[in-house]
Symmetry: C2
Subunit: 321 residues, 2 copies
Amino acid sequence: MDAVKPYVIGVDLGGTNTVFGIVNQRGEILFDDSIKTQAYDTAERFVEAGVACLKPLIEKAGGVENIKAMGIGAPNGNYYTNAIEFAPNLPWKGVVPLGEMFSKELGIPVALTNDANAAAMGEMIYGVARGMKNFIVITLGTGVGSGIVINGQLVYGHDGFAGELGHVTMVRGEEGRPCGCGRTGCLEAYCSATGVARTAREMLAKTDRPSLLREIDPEKIESLDVSIAAGKGDALAKEIFEFTGKMLGEACADFTAFSSPEAYIFFGGLCKAGDLIMKPIEESYNKHVMKIFQNKAKFLVSGLMSMNAAVLGASALGWEI
Amino acid sequence: MDAVKPYVIGVDLGGTNTVFGIVNQRGEILFDDSIKTQAYDTAERFVEAGVACLKPLIEKAGGVENIKAMGIGAPNGNYYTNAIEFAPNLPWKGVVPLGEMFSKELGIPVALTNDANAAAMGEMIYGVARGMKNFIVITLGTGVGSGIVINGQLVYGHDGFAGELGHVTMVRGEEGRPCGCGRTGCLEAYCSATGVARTAREMLAKTDRPSLLREIDPEKIESLDVSIAAGKGDALAKEIFEFTGKMLGEACADFTAFSSPEAYIFFGGLCKAGDLIMKPIEESYNKHVMKIFQNKAKFLVSGLMSMNAAVLGASALGWEI
């Protein structure tokens, strides 16, 4: 009976750190700890270190008999295969059956999904999407990811890889920017943190207009620098956000033609710019979307943007097993 | 108990004709009849005529006590409100609560959805999508419509208007063709029957190349003429289909990034061109889609493309009530 197993483990497996947390049914993280993801050159060693890190947390929670299950959010995590598949930014290549590996070591069920899906699950259970049955989470980080919820369910698609909204084509033909996925013109190539930095370099090179960003070596500009400059009222930095927001709004207008969600929820470093990015997104969206959809969708920033949020999102997966 | 109500009514409400059919649980249309949609200037008169048309069919079926429910597929039909909302090609303006109106007259539950959703429902229960839980039906007619099934459920979205894939933007900026929806660059502006005819006119005007299509007054060219010419091996007509298929393939590549369906099912007059249109779609799709999705999705032509298919699709809705 679930009542005798009051906790789940949530795991936020990121490119740098992996955080483990013991979570209760109210969404409180009781105990947590982390390891360095990149320090383990094989998945076996990583699992070994993860289990060693978890053991004391599990003991504090009264032993494994109190743990219902574990949920993992990881880049390129496939819910159907319970494996990480061909993640470009992790040290382990190919298909890594991480769910099964942890399950075998810990003796509890383990579910795994990609990080954006975990974020969507977290928003639905603990965040701004509580009570919503149709919404889309868009993560603006190193890449652009997405978690799509339709009829109250995460969309995994036929093969488990649905929700790659960072890779819809926004600029067709030869003028599209190259994308990390090997194609060109993807949303991610423009609206990820690296995309924003590239837009900054392009805009700086194109004109002589003064900007706080000129104090930085162009090759070292990061999206955070653009945020800081825009926050100080720098006109060029604001235009960079307007360009980025305009494209995100156009993309969302297309997504609405697909699933007409109640809300778009943005997650990740870029959102910290607040209205500087959110206003252009919403304005562009309402300008480009079909008339029947105008001024209906909400544009929200995640309320779960601490490191622990990803753990919560992943833990939500554990309750579903 | 359902066992004592062995039939449903399926209604295909089109811009020209409205077909009523009595359908059994095996998907056989036992009795059917039709009225002219445009002959009734108010929805009240249309419902009156519809009920008069249905009465003898219902009697043949042994009376209304044998009818479980009625399902209607109609342009701009909204499943949530049970109404036709602002349909540009129907004589009745504004919001028409057609479901409720028929239900009151007939004394049975009535569900209503848009025509493309009804087609998707028909494919899932009676057609090539039997056994599939994730697929997208794309209707290529006067417009481009879509019915999306995810996790075995039709996608209606937050407001009932999801699945408007004819109105994703394929050509951004000023060079986009004007679309009937008031925006520019929509998929529908290029890949509907009228879009294909326009492509034909543009291609004929651009060059002096010989083509069977030059025998027709350019203003009177229809997509069927292009089909016939392509079927005879006309090179220019084939290029028109290649252009159309290429864009549909690119659009489907974006749709896959969203929901990664098992299959795309094409429905409507244009599909009668067979490989001439289907091959370019599939080739373009596999060229433009993300690597992880390549050569996975099936590209199928509906097996239900008779007039009765739409009735079957709508009737499927009746079983779900």
